[in-house]
């Protein structure tokens, strides 16, 4: 019954607005928390009663067959965990009850968009659900209606509109050339006319649109402004999953299941991945704003995922999917930490912070785990996914790109170490004497995310083998 993943949040919205709005708004948080937690558990367990396609009685209504494979499971799990983290952060950082209530509704709509995108096996439906997630993101970024947040949302809208035009035009060409927009029909059409200029042009346009959505350099202009100007809970959601689901997941899904690898496409993805890895890391080095630095770091990490995909091998794609998961977790954790720090220090300027680890021990220590994983330090999860990507690049003969990935890892270590030193280590800065942990929920979600990072690192063979096996199976099909 995968269709419940898009129907239940809608029922949630109706219940919230017609029942909880009248009865008690405070209960909305617990209601949605239980909803996301249930979805996460069902996905984690791969519950056969839920994911068996034949059991889905709603398929005839939607007139589609939902596509659930290993890559979808990873993406669904990321969506649910990050939505959960974002919800908890909203509880502590959005103080106005009305604002928090509206945010909860938008979060549910966004989860419908992302779940729909992951489940669908049709390129037009993928586009529609991508827009559901994008529209709710625009609103959430502009939530506070400050000048910066409106500017961030505006830049996102403008560049998204460009991506939309490219993708819609590409879909029209696919429909024209392949007679349908389902993944199977496009794959069939490409198989019949592998050198069709129309189809190749459509692939180029669609992939370019996804590059904008993913925030790869040079299509990244919107990303730092949108991430840093958004309210903290929205930053967690955007950096943790929205950008990745809308851009990178869609790119992996389409390249692996529909377009297939070709030397030209691989080279474009590799080049953009390498430029993003380096440019993102170098830009992050020069930032004083905590959230802005994490935003540039996201560009760099998305570059790693692109490098894995661009290698064009099962190992590289599995590495990319594993890094997709790891990045969703450690970047959410770092943004949760930045939200906690901003809540107590009332600023995100790292030059005005220092020594916060002594006052906020849980935030400080989980932040160390997040940063070590992001920097690729063993035995944490981030190390393994980067290692797999580098090995895949080396094996595929893309040695220059493997070297770039290694060098950028040193840059990552350097800017994240600088962040730790300026924010958490050293002497407590004047004016921060009253800082303390924001709340039990904040601490719990930070520890939860940190534990996932440690567990995935220690259980690497188990986790990676499962991903690798399913990627190989998809590629054989």
């Amino acid at each position: 019954m995968p269709s419940l993943l898009i129907l239940v949040p809608l029922v949630g919205i109706l219940v919230l607005n017609f029942l909880f709005k009248l009865v008690v708004r405070r209960a909305a948080f617990w209601f949605v928390l239980v909803l996301f937690a249930t979805q996460a558990v069902i996905t984690f367990l791969h519950a056969p009663f839920f994911y068996a396609g034949s059991a889905d009685r709603l398929n005839p209504f939607f007139k589609v067959v939902f596509n659930v494979d290993g890559i979808s499971f990873v993406a669904l799990l990321c969506i649910e965990i990050v939505c959960l983290a974002s919800l908890v952060v909203a509880r502590y950082t959005l103080h106005d009850l009305n604002q928090r209530f509206n945010f909860t509704n938008l979060l549910l709509i966004s989860s419908i968009g992302m779940n729909g995108m992951v489940l669908t096996s049709d390129i037009f439906s993928l586009y529609v659900f991508l827009e559901v997630a994008a529209v709710s993101s625009f609103i959430m970024i502009a939530f506070r209606r400050g000048k910066r947040s409106l500017e961030g949302a505006f830049k996102y809208i403008i560049l998204s509109a460009v991506a939309t035009v490219l993708m819609l035009a590409a879909i029209a060409l696919f429909l024209l050339a392949c007679s349908d927009t389902s993944f199977a029909a496009i794959r069939h059409g490409m198989g019949q006319s592998p050198h069709s200029n129309i189809i190749l042009f459509a692939v180029g346009m669609f992939v370019s649109g996804l590059f904008i959505k993913a925030g790869l350099v040079p299509f990244h202009a919107w990303l730092p402004d949108a991430y840093s100007a958004a309210p903290d809970a929205v930053s967690v959601l955007l950096a943790g999953i929205v950008t990745k689901a809308c851009g990178i997941y869609a790119l992996i899904r389409l390249v692996v299941s529909v377009f297939g690898f070709s030397p030209g496409l691989n080279q474009v993805i590799l080049l953009l991945g390498a430029v993003s890895v380096l440019a993102g890391a170098l830009a992050a080095l020069g930032q004083n704003d905590f959230k802005r630095m994490l935003s540039y770091s996201s560009i760099s990490q998305i570059g790693y995922i692109a490098l894995g995909l661009g290698s064009g091998t099962a190992l590289g794609v599995a590495g990319a999917v594993f890094h997709f998961f790891n990045h969703a977790i450690f970047k959410s954790l770092l943004f949760v930490n930045s939200a906690a720090v901003a809540e107590e220090a009332h600023t995100t300027d790292m030059d005005k912070m220092g020594g916060l680890s002594s006052r906020m021990p849980v935030t400080g220590s989980t932040s160390v785990i997040g940063f070590l994983s992001a920097a690729g330090i063993p035995p944490l999860a981030g190390f393994w996914s980067k290692l797999v990507i580098i090995i895949a690049l080396w094996k595929a003969g893309d040695i220059a790109y493997a070297v770039i990935a290694v060098l950028a890892s040193i840059l990552t270590l350097s800017y994240l170490l600088s962040m730790q030193r300026r924010v958490f280590f050293g002497r407590l800065r004047q004016g921060l004497e009253d800082a303390k942990e924001v709340g039990a929920g904040f601490a719990l979600i930070s520890v939860f995310l940190a534990l996932i990072i440690i567990a995935c690192g220690l259980l690497f063979p188990l986790v990676f083998n499962a991903i690798y096996a399913s990627v190989k199976q998809i590629l054989i099909q």
């Binding site: 898009i6 809608l10 919205i13 209504f61 939607f62 007139k63 589609v64 509206n102 509704n105 938008l106 709509i109 419908i112 968009g113 729909g116 669908t120 049709d122 037009f124 439906s125 529609v128 659900f129 827009e131 559901v132 529209v135 709710s136 625009f138 609103i139 502009a142 939530f143 506070r144 209606r145 400050g146 000048k147 429909l175 024209l176 050339a177 392949c178 007679s179 349908d180 927009t181 059409g189 019949q192 006319s193 069709s196 200029n197 129309i198 189809i199 042009f201």
Partner: protein, 167 residues
């Protein structure tokens, strides 16, 4: 392509450019409505009456009415402010029409060079595009309802009256 279509296309681009470059919001909204009406004509010509009716009623009609009523609630700029805005806009976006023409020329060149091989489509198209999109796509309609819902929340959140002056 007939001369009439060509004229309409030029008119549509001119109306769209006017919508972006116009000094007055009112004129910009009218420019957008004109561009939308011309798109409607093309949709009728391409045998898509359903899409055309939606375009005409929602984009040219409803949205223009909402724009005009919202503009009616705003304070109009003084002549001096309008001149300054116009100069600034010309300086920042004056190159845009040239960029559009250049992109159009490049695309035209690419398409003229590119053989439009639609063998696959000729062999396999059995259902019309319109029929595919409107009769077999309930999931997409569900998605579109979600977009409208998000838009509704956005309108409530972003356009509600506020006492705080964050600007």
């Amino acid at each position: 392509m007939t001369n009439l279509n060509l004229m309409l296309l030029v008119l549509m681009v001119a109306a769209a450019v006017w919508a972006v470059m116009a000094r007055s919001l009112l004129k910009a909204a009218i420019g957008l409505a004109i561009a939308s009406i011309i798109i409607t004509i093309f949709m009728f010509e391409f045998n898509s009456p359903l899409a055309a009716v939606f375009e005409l009623s929602v984009c040219s009609g409803l949205i223009t009415v909402i724009f005009l009523s919202t503009i009616g609630l705003t304070r109009p700029l003084s002549h001096k402010e309008l001149l300054a805005l116009s100069r600034d806009r010309g300086r920042r976006y004056g190159f845009m029409p040239l960029l559009v023409i250049a992109c159009g020329a490049i695309l035209a060149f690419v398409f003229l060079k590119m053989p439009l091989d639609l063998e696959v489509a000729k062999n396999t198209i059995s259902v019309g595009a319109r029929e595919v999109l409107w009769n077999f796509r309930h999931l997409d309609l569900f998605g579109q309802i979600m977009i409208l819902l998000a838009g509704g929340f956005g309108a409530v959140l972003l356009f509600r009256e506020t006492n705080t002056d964050e600007w």
